[in-house]
């Protein structure tokens, strides 16, 4: 197990390196440089700018320089405002993480409940309703859902605000309750969470149906347990294992999904930083955010695989 974890963590290094390299090449293949759009800048200023950000070096040296700095944890400077990329990402990450975690909790609660309820009432009306939600919900893009929710609940009914983030922007405000504004929190979380919730519901239902057919469930029923106890104590626990495996892809999905949702609701997270960076050819920022996202997704998958082995004693990694 330890060996497996170490091997997986080590494998992340070449993956992140490859992602960084591909991004570096793509980014420099984008037509136009970071300062080509500025007008009436004296050549001397341009030269100074290029020197400041190492843009006067040949490409291969810029690449090696970037990797060298990356190894030391230095993500470089954003062209915009000359600020540390790691600092900007750190601030955005705090917001993105809140959105991700809250959505994850929302999706897990809705998805698991729907999945269990529909499996316990197989082929009943509740089941059909839940299956319909799971099928339809999985196919509605998050920004489309966001548009509908905004039209109905923000514009027509006026229940919610749609601009900005409703949670704290800085770490130290986390426990300040006045920093949490449900009027701004609800719509982004629902928009982002319905697809994963539908996905979890599908997997949970399938897995529950499988488990409910097992002998030990029949035994539990045979000894006279109430249906609720059978489902809650005997079936759910064992049905969770396949559900866990999809948590990794779901987390990755949340990460990339938050991207558009951040744009829709003007949430100052990492996704918005990336979009702005591509528009402005902000090289260090593009690199930083991409490596950051790739790292998160890789970590999430690793965590899920490890959790899988911890929860299911039958799984052994050699």
């Amino acid at each position: 197990m330890t060996g497996y974890v170490i091997r997986r963590v080590l494998w992340m290094i070449p993956v992140l390196w490859a992602v960084a390299t591909i991004t570096f090449l793509l980014m420099h293949a984008v037509p136009g440089g970071p300062f080509t759009e500025e007008k009436d800048v004296p050549q001397s200023v341009l030269n100074a700018l290029n020197r400041r950000y190492n843009l006067d070096e040949p490409l291969w040296r810029q690449y090696l320089l970037y990797l060298w700095n990356l190894l030391q944890g230095d993500l470089g400077l954003s062209f915009r405002g000359d600020r540390d990329v790691s600092e900007l990402i750190g601030r955005g990450f705090f917001v993105t993480m809140q959105l991700g975690l809250l959505t994850f909790i929302f999706a897990a609660i809705i998805g698991l409940t729907l999945g269990v309820v529909s499996a316990a009432n197989q082929n009943g009306p509740l089941d059909y309703l839940a299956v319909f939600f799971a099928t339809a919900g999985a196919a509605v893009p998050n920004f489309v859902l966001a548009s509908f929710l905004i039209v109905v609940f923000a514009v027509e009914l006026g229940w919610f605000n749609i601009l900005g983030w409703g949670g704290p922007i800085e770490w130290r405000d986390t426990f300040d309750l006045s920093m949490w504004d449900p009027k701004k929190l609800v719509l982004p979380i629902i928009s982002l969470g319905v697809v994963p919730a539908a996905y979890i519901a599908r997997v949970t239902r399938a897995s529950m149906l499988e488990v409910l057919r097992q002998d030990y469930v029949r035994t539990a029923r045979a000894k006279g347990l109430v249906e609720f106890t059978v489902v809650a104590r005997h079936a759910v626990k064992n049905a969770m294992i396949p559900v866990l495996t999809v948590m990794g892809p779901i987390f990755a999905f949340l990460v990339t999904g938050s991207f558009i949702i951040e744009s829709v609701f003007s949430i100052p997270g990492v996704g918005r930083l990336f979009v702005e960076a591509v528009l402005r050819r902000d090289y260090a920022m593009i690199m930083g955010t991409t490596i950051f996202y790739a790292g998160i997704v890789a970590f999430a998958n690793l965590a899920v695989d490890i959790m899988y082995a911890v929860v299911d004693p039958r799984v052994r990694y050699g």
Binding site: V19, L26, A139, V140, V144, V155, T256, I260, V278, Y293
Partner: protein, 308 residues
């Protein structure tokens, strides 16, 4: 024959009469799936409408780019089924044009995905250990790349290029989406082919002296098609979503082209003033994706009855 089959358990008893092939069976199972049939019918109607609107003026009634400044931000009416936008353009005709673009991009991307996935998957499975290792590690890396980041970057790289056919913006978007989405097909094809390699009919073909490429093309590839067809069907809504997402953050086709993502974004900008403007394009995206997803679900159940 029947007795023999029962005792040896080897021979397969075919029912008398017309032989029913795998695909015919699958099609019959597909037709029994109500959601899939509904998706298929809806999809065919949408395609007929959208394609028809490109050919017959009476369907769209307005040019998608025609502006009438007299009536901007109108709600749905008989004159404008879906209302008008901020420049007085007819949303109905723009949505139809957008659906056409989305369909082109959804299907076109799958051609790229299919070509890349089949080649990489087959080479990995058939080309020996070294090529398997190299190709699958590369696939892992592409899989680890956050999709949308890659698509946006690639889109920015290709934008404004005039390299032969690549100067076409739609092709650029298809390429940007296709270049990151082939990994599922590649893994699928590799897995299927590795499993097929040990099968008797492949061994028999080899024993008969068939060349490797003939074995791959004639004997193995057709047998991998079932899951690939399903994956491609699910890939279409993913590509439609990717294009719409690109449009929504301003990286899709440049204005005034009416791609669905851009329409939704334009509508979203005026959501306080005219909610209809965002509702119709957004519904079109959702409807298209739903149809393909229902169809994909149905195909999966039909082609692999075990997965139910």
């Amino acid at each position: 024959m029947g007795v023999e089959a029962a005792t040896t358990g080897l021979a397969i008893d075919l029912p008398p009469g017309r032989e029913s092939g795998l695909w015919r069976d699958a099609f019959r199972r597909l037709l029994r799936n109500r959601l899939a049939v509904a998706g298929l019918i809806m999809l065919l109607s949408i395609i007929a409408l959208a394609v028809g609107a490109g050919a017959i003026d009476e369907i769209a009634r307005y040019d998608p780019d025609f502006q009438t400044h007299a009536d901007i931000h109108e709600g749905p009416s008989t004159a404008h089924f879906f209302g008008t936008d901020n420049l007085g353009r007819d949303t109905w005709s723009r949505v139809l044009a957008g659906v056409r673009i989305s369909l082109q991009i959804g299907l076109g991307t799958q051609v790229i995905v299919l070509a890349l996935g089949l080649v990489v998957g087959a080479l990995a499975a058939m080309g020996g250990r070294l090529s398997d290792n190299v190709l699958m590690r590369f696939t892992d890396i592409m899989y680890a790349f956050p999709d949308l980041l890659f698509i946006i970057l690639m889109r920015a790289v290709l934008e404004g290029r005039d390299w032969l056919v690549l100067s076409d913006q739609r092709l650029q978007i298809m390429l940007a989406i296709g270049l990151v989405n082939w990994t599922t097909i590649a893994r699928l094809v590799r897995g299927q082919m590795l499993a097929l390699q040990g099968q008797d009919f492949v061994l028999a073909a080899r024993a008969l002296g068939a060349r490797p490429w003939r074995i791959v093309l004639v004997h193995m590839l057709p047998n991998t098609l079932g899951p690939v067809v399903v994956a491609v069907t699910f890939g279409i809504p993913i590509a439609i979503f990717a294009e719409a997402a690109l449009g929504f953050i301003g990286f899709s086709l440049p204005p005034p082209t009416a791609s669905l993502g851009r329409l939704a974004k334009d509508g979203y900008n005026f959501v306080q003033l005219n909610p209809w403007f965002v509702v119709f394009p957004a519904s079109a995206i959702a409807l298209l994706m739903l149809c393909f997803t229902f169809l994909g679900d149905g195909l999966r159940d039909a082609l692999d009855p075990r997965s139910r």
